[in-house]
């Protein structure tokens, strides 16, 4: 019993909390700096790249970073996710690149990486194909204490940095020209945030696969309920992400006796109605 609670159930429960918090915070800041309500860590290809990295390990057995075999999948996923972010980051430091260009480049990257992933799947053995498909659905079942600790660590490191920039991040939202006029170094802030968001998204994604929905919905729930003053929306996003994914994790276990449905599926199916209700019943319009 102790074994079941502490070694299996507890890490899964805590993983839901930390992953939800990370992805929601990452989504919130991505939406802020890109001035786009559809932005999330996944818009810029971070999760697609992670899937591709994971598939490289599962299908071809290629380790991007020589490491213990057990960690090959998450390390590959993380390496590819960071590579994708660095690519986007590098392109966005170029002259004349606007927010819209960054989003377009991100979408182009998503399509490219997805095509590569499809190519890998085409050549994959049946077993490897099943593993890849399952991975891309997202699942918390492989949670361990180490993974929980690493995910929590990244959250603990990044959150205070955002907290210190709360006013500048809030100022970006009503309009870039205005923020510049207030003395906010918008360009630098955007690049710094891009790096932090990448780390914040790449770590959980490499552990649990694609749970995309939280990254978009978590921040919107916080914003609808609390507004966009980052003093409220920053902790709000963390909480809403953590709570949503926890609730989803419970649901995914409670549905079918004996089976745990992939959490990514439940998150999208249950999350949408909740989200839609909030949109229609709440007066705070922001986009």
């Amino acid at each position: 019993m102790r074994m079941v609670v502490w070694e299996i159930r507890m890490p899964i429960a805590l993983m839901a909390v930390t992953v939800g918090a990370c992805l929601s915070l990452a989504g919130a800041q991505m939406q802020t700096i890109l001035a786009n309500p559809l932005a999330s860590p996944f818009t810029l290809g971070i999760s697609a790249a992670a899937s591709f990295g994971a598939a490289l390990a599962m299908v071809l057995g290629v380790a991007l970073v020589p490491a213990a075999l057990a960690l090959m999948v998450p390390i590959n996923a993380f390496a590819m996710a960071m590579l994708a972010s660095l690519l986007i980051f590098g392109l966005s430091t170029m002259r004349g690149v606007t927010v819209e260009t960054i989003v377009l480049l991100g979408i182009a990257l998503v399509f490219t990486v997805n095509a590569l992933l499809a190519l890998l799947q085409y050549f994959a053995s049946e077993q490897a194909l099943a593993a890849v498909v399952f991975w891309t659905m997202g699942s918390l079942t492989k949670a361990t204490w180490t993974k929980v600790a690493v995910t929590a660590l990244i959250l603990v490191v990044v959150t205070p940095i955002f907290a210190r920039r709360a006013w500048a991040l809030t100022a970006i939202r009503p309009g870039e020209a205005r923020a510049v006029a207030m003395g906010v170094p918008v360009r630098r802030l955007r690049l710094e945030t891009l790096i932090l968001v990448s780390a914040l998204a790449a770590v959980p994604v490499s552990f649990v696969g694609t749970i995309g929905f939280i990254g978009i919905v978590g921040p919107h729930i916080a914003r609808l309920l609390l507004g966009e003053d980052q003093r409220f929306s920053l902790p709000g996003s963390i909480l809403s992400g953590a709570l949503s994914l926890s609730a989803t994790s419970v649901l995914s276990k409670a549905n079918l006796p004996g089976a745990v449905l992939p959490i990514g599926i439940i998150a999208a199916l249950v999350g949408v109605p909740v989200f839609a209700t909030l949109i229609f019943t709440n007066g705070r319009r922001s986009w």
Binding site: A163, W167, R178, M182
Partner: protein, 258 residues
């Protein structure tokens, strides 16, 4: 008192030079100064250069204030964020002062500017719900809440009704008089300029074509040159100067530099 003077200032976007050598006499604080010129004459560019957003040679000489005491209000570009009017003014104040906690003095400063501009009743409204004019008043509140010593405003009265145009110009005039701040306003209504602004800077095609006391600057020849409009400057029945437009010059090409 604060003074500002442009000394052979260059302003450019990348390699494209807009202003080559823009100079002005010393602009004294305590009064309103107008910046006039046709569409795309380079008013915003000059503001952005003074505000330090554009690079270029030359010197923006400021006495009596730090460069950090400058606030520039860009033209209205719309605001959509899930922020209330109050929050949006707070955040302008907090860019300077930092910290998550709001002190009594800070709350007071926000209340004061909102009531000063008569938008205290809008405090809890969301930015997305505001009309163009209300949004403009919020922008002005955001700009003034830090009590800057140098204020540059791009068309602060463009979206306002007559009552509020008058109120805002009076507010700005009182602000300049109280604080000794240099306040430069880009305005299109030359009657407003003549009524409210002591000094006027006129720009055309990326050059400062005139700068000095308003009535000396805004002569009919200059108005014709700037806007392609034939106009008279007359004295109204109460002794105030005012401009009457007669007709547009037929062969006047709008020669924007863009």
């Amino acid at each position: 008192m604060v003074t500002l003077q442009l000394r052979k200032v260059e302003a450019r976007y990348g390699r494209r030079i807009i202003y080559a050598e823009a100079s002005t006499p010393e602009i004294a604080g305590g009064h309103l100064t107008a910046l006039v010129g046709a569409n795309a004459a380079g008013k915003s560019t000059l503001f952005r250069r003074i505000a330090g957003q554009l690079a270029g040679k030359g010197e923006v000489f400021i006495a009596g204030a730090e460069p950090g005491d400058l606030r520039y209000m860009p033209q209205d570009t719309g605001m959509s964020a899930a922020l209330t009017v109050y929050e949006s003014v707070v955040l302008a104040l907090k860019q300077r002062q930092g910290g998550w906690r709001m002190g009594a003095e800070e709350l007071d400063a926000v209340d004061k500017i909102l009531s000063g501009l008569k938008i205290g009743a809008l405090s809890d409204r969301h930015l997305a719900e505001l009309s163009g004019g209300q949004r403009q008043l919020v922008s002005i509140a955001q700009t003034l809440v830090t009590r800057p010593r140098i204020v540059l405003m791009d068309e602060p009265t463009a979206a306002l009704d007559l009552y509020r145009q008058y109120e805002v110009l009076e507010h700005l005039r009182a602000y300049a008089a109280d604080t000794g701040a240099v306040v430069i306003l880009a305005l299109y209504d030359l009657n407003q300029v003549m009524r409210a602004c002591t000094m006027t800077i006129a720009v055309a095609e990326g050059r400062i074509v005139a700068a000095g006391p308003t009535l000396e600057t805004l002569r009919p020849e200059m108005i014709r040159k700037l806007y392609g409009i034939e106009a008279r400057v007359e004295t109204c029945s109460r002794g105030c100067p005012m401009m009457v437009v007669d007709r547009a010059v037929e062969d006047h090409e709008m020669s924007g530099y863009r």
